[in-house]
């Protein structure tokens, strides 16, 4: 599941403005998760009737939500041919990680300066999850937890722009992984260096944290581009369910 930014009202007035997600929001989240999870294979075409049917909505709202992912660069829209999941091949990995490093290092410096105790704790917690996940040897769980550490760190910066970009980048990293592994595999991307990241962050050591992040990302690029590393674990069953099944959208009136 892709972590999604939550609007956090900084101060606490007596009443905070109520905000509910639109149907398009819900569909977009569902779609993004589907791409992230590999339920929609990279490069594959997306049939609107089928998808919108599974979500329990008509093609109209579905197409609107899809355009959001097109803007994000996760989907591609070819005029007469419809939608398809993008590929991120070898040639683009370097640029992807340049962008990712830019966001993460900037966020790191800001977070070191301004993060609250609970935000620091959140990063630590995300790292704990990663450690637990690593024990399961489940490559996908590890990948999720890995990315979640990075996402949580960016979230700790409190910068909405960086967090928005990071939310998309996470999915693109996964797409790159899928693309390079030739058919729906998730690299077993265990990284020692995450310990450094969390420790440098807790120590509020900006330069050290940036270095740790850079090291981690460089390592990730190497693993990704390593030709058929043995460190890769492939799933015969690419998708959670054989058919790309999306949860139906129900106008949830959720209680906080």
């Amino acid at each position: 599941m892709v972590p999604t930014p939550r609007v956090s009202r900084g101060t606490a007035p007596s009443l905070s403005p109520v905000t509910r997600p639109s149907t398009v929001d819900l569909i977009a989240v569902e779609l993004r998760n589907a791409v992230y999870a590999g339920a929609l294979p990279v490069g594959s075409a997306i049939r609107e009737v089928e998808m919108s049917g599974q979500l329990g909505v008509s093609r109209g709202p579905f197409r609107e939500a899809a355009q959001r992912l097109v803007q994000e660069g996760l989907l591609r829209s070819t005029p007469g041919r419809g939608l398809s999941v993008v590929r991120i091949g070898r040639d683009r990995v370097h640029e992807l990680y340049e962008a990712r490093a830019s966001v993460e290092t900037t966020a790191a410096r800001i977070a070191v300066e301004r993060a609250t105790a609970v935000e620091v704790a959140a990063v630590r917690a995300a790292h704990d999850d990663l450690v637990v996940a690593e024990r399961t040897e489940d490559a996908r769980r590890v990948g999720d937890a890995d990315l979640n550490v990075h996402w949580t760190l960016v979230a700790a910066s409190g910068n909405p722009w960086l967090l928005r970009w990071m939310t998309t980048l996470i999915v693109e990293v996964r797409i790159a992984s899928f693309t390079l592994s030739e058919e729906y595999a998730v690299r077993k991307d265990t990284a020692e260096s995450h310990v450094d990241i969390v420790e440098r962050f807790e120590a509020r050591d900006a330069d050290g944290l940036v270095s740790a992040i850079r090291a981690n990302l460089d390592d990730a690029v190497l693993r990704l581009l390593a030709p058929e590393s043995v460190e890769v674990e492939t799933f015969d069953e690419p998708r959670p369910s054989s058919a790309p099944r999306l949860e139906p959208i129900t106008p949830t009136f959720s209680e906080p």
Copy 2:
């Protein structure tokens, strides 16, 4: 007019894959330009029937294009209330420029390393335009040219992610300007520091270039947040035409 990224095939095979913009693409560009030009005032509601009518399309494609801008953060969609142009007030300017600095400085270092001669020349040309624009004393033209220098520099990095973000950031900077100036003004941003930027870039001096950019952006933030600076020029006529007029979409089969 907002500069839009052009897909540039790096190598030159005998034939490059033909690609044409979808209708949604065209509408999105038109909408983005309208926001950028202030034709759609910040905070104002957007009436779908009116807008789509002016563009000569039905509400369907228009709504799809609008969702792209929602994803960018330029428009806001409130469930029962429809679309409106976002505001970027004092409290968010700092974060906006943090994000902008991240993109621009990263792009700068990459561009210094990898930019070709023509890309360097493009930045120089953009700067020349700025100098010319400054002579006209037209605040909006100066603003356009100013932002275009920065955009061209990011484009010179060749990184699609950075360029995509920059394309949105430019509009958000303009939105911030509109929001803070209380009704459709464009700050007269004299650009001494732009000379440094171009010179450091031409000299391929990465650190110097980054410093120049930082100085320029810090200066811009100060100008923006300076309470009612005298350096501001306000237009009584906020919009190019009194009614937000959008160019009709014609399925252009454009020749390169």
